[in-house]
Assembly symmetry: D2
Homo-oligomer: 390 residues x 4
Amino acid sequence: MEERHVEIVERKGRGHPDYVIDGASEAVSRELCKHYRKEFGVVLHHNIDKGLLVGGRAHPVFGGGEVIDPMYLVVAGRAMTSFPKNGVDTPVPVGSISLKAIRAFLQETFRFLDVDRHVIIDYRIKQSSMDLVSNFQAGAGMPLSNDTSFGVSYAPLSQTERLVLEAESYLNSRKVKKELPEVGEDIKVMGLRKDSHILLTIAAPQISSLTPDLDHYISVKEEVTGRIKDVATGITKRDVEVCVNTADDLDRSIVYLTVTGTSAEQGDDGNTGRGNRVHGLITPCRPMSLEATAGKNPINHVGKIYNVLARQMAEKVYSEVEGISEVYIKVLSQIGKPIDQPLMTDVQLILSKGVTLHKVRGDVESIVDEGLADVCKISEAIIDGKILLF
Amino acid sequence: MEERHVEIVERKGRGHPDYVIDGASEAVSRELCKHYRKEFGVVLHHNIDKGLLVGGRAHPVFGGGEVIDPMYLVVAGRAMTSFPKNGVDTPVPVGSISLKAIRAFLQETFRFLDVDRHVIIDYRIKQSSMDLVSNFQAGAGMPLSNDTSFGVSYAPLSQTERLVLEAESYLNSRKVKKELPEVGEDIKVMGLRKDSHILLTIAAPQISSLTPDLDHYISVKEEVTGRIKDVATGITKRDVEVCVNTADDLDRSIVYLTVTGTSAEQGDDGNTGRGNRVHGLITPCRPMSLEATAGKNPINHVGKIYNVLARQMAEKVYSEVEGISEVYIKVLSQIGKPIDQPLMTDVQLILSKGVTLHKVRGDVESIVDEGLADVCKISEAIIDGKILLF
Amino acid sequence: MEERHVEIVERKGRGHPDYVIDGASEAVSRELCKHYRKEFGVVLHHNIDKGLLVGGRAHPVFGGGEVIDPMYLVVAGRAMTSFPKNGVDTPVPVGSISLKAIRAFLQETFRFLDVDRHVIIDYRIKQSSMDLVSNFQAGAGMPLSNDTSFGVSYAPLSQTERLVLEAESYLNSRKVKKELPEVGEDIKVMGLRKDSHILLTIAAPQISSLTPDLDHYISVKEEVTGRIKDVATGITKRDVEVCVNTADDLDRSIVYLTVTGTSAEQGDDGNTGRGNRVHGLITPCRPMSLEATAGKNPINHVGKIYNVLARQMAEKVYSEVEGISEVYIKVLSQIGKPIDQPLMTDVQLILSKGVTLHKVRGDVESIVDEGLADVCKISEAIIDGKILLF
Amino acid sequence: MEERHVEIVERKGRGHPDYVIDGASEAVSRELCKHYRKEFGVVLHHNIDKGLLVGGRAHPVFGGGEVIDPMYLVVAGRAMTSFPKNGVDTPVPVGSISLKAIRAFLQETFRFLDVDRHVIIDYRIKQSSMDLVSNFQAGAGMPLSNDTSFGVSYAPLSQTERLVLEAESYLNSRKVKKELPEVGEDIKVMGLRKDSHILLTIAAPQISSLTPDLDHYISVKEEVTGRIKDVATGITKRDVEVCVNTADDLDRSIVYLTVTGTSAEQGDDGNTGRGNRVHGLITPCRPMSLEATAGKNPINHVGKIYNVLARQMAEKVYSEVEGISEVYIKVLSQIGKPIDQPLMTDVQLILSKGVTLHKVRGDVESIVDEGLADVCKISEAIIDGKILLF
């Protein structure tokens, strides 16, 4: 990848409308998992991988402003709405769980979004259809794959990819939120590499109540630019150009100011599954799955599990096996088969100069076998919120 | 009234679905008034007198329970969505104000309703149409009547009416909520008098988490019955029969148990304007206005103001003029005319034995004139929440 | 009534927002009845007596115009969503039935409302709670009353009442729609009688596409005024003043023009149960029930049936028994008792001069007894749409 | 591509939930374009590239069945809601246009979906924000790019890709709908090639009312299988295995039966932008853009235009320049610059044996230059519905 002429990479950061609705879908799935397990001892079938965030209307002004029309957020999907407990069919408060999970997610994500006033939270989750449920429950021990689907990932990230990822995570870090509280959460980073030149285009809204005037806005923007250049120095020796809020027109006082920290307050909508892939990035020049990971159940939905699995195996192969330049892994499921027995696991290796396939094959195969054997650990880690999904 | 054979009186108490949606509409109106006044110095046009509360689905069990599907509450109407301030057209955050006002109202009303999980709050308020607005703003000094409408009320309340009113306010009093916290807020009282016998039918849900078992439920129900009988003793010498939760079937453990204190959690819906009239009661045997008072603007919406006015004047006439047995007052507006100049004020008096119209006429007229002259005080008192509207 | 000094009467005609949402609720109830009966042989429990019509935004212009934002119509309530058929639990397509019923109702009601473009139709109907259902089904033969409620009505209509009723029905008659197609369906008539003077205030929108200019508008308005005066001549000898569209300001070209024939296209909202009572009128000076008749099941919901029953009995008493000036009838139910056995039937008579109670008592009682015995015929007639409900 | 070991290709056919919501978004965009052009002479800013289709609940049975709960379809985005016409600000009936466009699209797409009963159509489209609009309108002659974005495509399609594409288009062809009307529209095809073996997995619902019994179902399924094998013969010499409705369990009578022809009637939801890319396929092993093409304005939204452009140029290069095995094209925009002046156009060529870059370079560059010069023709073709977008 580093040798190609052109590379395009994007990250829709925490606070981006597509990220937010992904986050809402996933929050509901995780809280359902916890409730199912607590009440019934097992995770039950669900799939909340659709959603819509409709942007509101806001009136940010230097030093203040307000949300005029709240955003509207709805998640959609299917879930088991009742299940036997001690022999009695017991309802699952899917609605209450959903509202609470989304509310908590929004409160964790934003500092200046007042969920009570700025968002209408809705859900449209219906009873799972019985076909899906019977497949879901059939696996004794190992869950059965819910679908014919696949996961794909690779390692390592390129410099441009790491740069995009770290630029956003830096700007949304606790440290920067403390030192530059004006910077909102809806950070979007686009990286374009042409040979040895990298252009980082960053959209970073500022919180209107913390930004008293245009001068202040400009100084924060400059500070962001400078800091990201420093971040870049630690990642690449290439020439990195950083552009922040390129749509600004300072003469006409058109700047990227928000009341809440997200562009969803005014004009931007989001759909589940339209944001980052499982490595936190959108990488159109690389193989990508179009499946949404957000909101799918982490037990047997291979569109979620196999993407994470592919990524974990690829990273392990790259970091533990010497002589690997790049590794791409695809895992294909077979509907109704145990998830540790995929139809196919395809590993493509780009070896370092002088390394032969013969030399690395055994180690790679071991890592893949081990990854499959441990696939259920992924479910646990997802429920615990320990895995990057988007 | 006391001499008629039959009397039917009803009160849908705090917590009843129709009361709740009335309360939501009115809360939005009041907060809009405050915002308009604070931002622009005057109350602007609005009318939020429509609404719908869709009941949820709940699973109350002795000692616990949960709301499965949240309720859905939406208010509808029109409001000024922007207005000039210091020469600049300034938006009004109608959405944020509405969500916050409804939420606060619900939190004040219920002890066991968790607004975060149990209710989806929505609004459908559009820009006021310009015709209404121009009429609204035209009044220099005295507002102009928004419509051809009328208000009607009377005094005094009959014994049965007072009994119904006080039974509910007693059960929803701070004192009783402390002593009998099991009693939910959705108290509905129906009073039927046949000659000298009064039947009070009371629906009073119990909070499931505070009611460990059927015995407890029964004892609370008995306590409620006893206490209401005591309340009745202070109001009437008639024979009062009190029936609580008549739909219970104790043998089959069918009881009136709720998680949140309102029947809206399961099966009962509400519409704005379908509950109590301006004296807090539904009195089909008396003249009644069908207008919703809830949510109408208190400045020039005569469907709201004139009902309150009629009630205040009737009470004053009854209490201050000697020799009045009953007084009925109707006030009719004329669209576009100042609200202190109604088209007609009709006063019907039932005089005590031996009293002549001649004797009371002057006093009654003074009270009516004064009431009209002071009509704008009603607007203030409504905004401050000091007036019973439903 | 004719001897009182003041009388206030109102009718919200076909096309008025409150009428429309009443009509939608009732249409759903009727189609559910038909489906239940066809599929299961009996009408099942339902109650669709809540609803909300949110007005749209329109841009009517002389000779044309368009609806910008559609109206939004939602009905709410409860219904049996499945029932055994040949031993198999069979689902009831409540949603499909509701959408279709409302659409058909709107198409019958309006000539210029394009349901495909001008209305969003929604429903929020949930499964009936089991308590209500068991009561509903328990009646072998005679249905059991669903609630403690009552109906009230009277006969005859006063001249003012007849005038209000016939003015609207004339303007919405097939004949007038043919001769004066410009007149929209949202006719609202307010009648105010002061002694022998009757003021009829009529709001009658005109269809913008059929009204090329202001002159045309004025001429149609004059035609309406003249025709209503003619109608009045046939009903009363009193002095009748007719005012049409009093909010017009012809100098500023502010006129009552609509694209679709209803004010709901711009700015006016509606709630179920807020319109006419069971005689087609709002009569605040008469006893009135606040219950919505629209949408309630016609089998055991006494808030619907008893209002119709009271009206039918009152009319029969008035027309068949000689010597009756006015008759008021109240019928009170007792929850859980057969609906032909009300708790009380209260008949108040105002007799013509010289007539004694003794003389009419027998006939009146026969009519009442017969009415109760035949109460189930009311259910049939309601399902067949043969009874005025609002 | 043909030489790689593994290939994965998918098509969500007409009738698939993701396709349907893509189609709805695009239908709204196209009708807005037509309205804007007709009323104002130019296409105005809009972006309707978000949407949600919430599946309903259905009860298909052999020979019949019904939709119980309708689907719910909502599109979201921004559009110009008014614009000057002859000097007067004129509203755009965005709502009416949207409802009508979606309805027409659904009626064209399905034979057995009754839009009146089976779908609730909604929209949440707000006024475009002024920043976007000013950029949109600034271009004199050539539109200015709305965003920093890119398009990517390639040619030729591999055998597997063609097979997947043609299998669906065959089953949804007018001919097959006539000969095998039982086959519903929601055809999903997944193609997996491992070396020289291709597995085609096809999901093809049957229309319940046309499928009297299990035997009939099975025979139609076999017919489909056989016909697709024939289709395959015309495309590839590889070994093709065809599996239809693999989730069927014939012993338990679990089959893929639908009332309407789409799985959205029961359990499957859709989001705009989650379906096929601009060549009609999902091809995770190839470079892909994650941008939704559906619903974006075709004038300056490069996320839509450049994907089509890349595809058209790639196909032309492949078919007109001799000696090209494969061509990949990426086009990168620069926000605010004319769309015929992208920041970069990257062409990757895989040449046939013996062909040198030198030989083809000129021809390829000509095609690219011409493509850019003619970029506005793409807008026209999209508005006319002449271009495959998903």
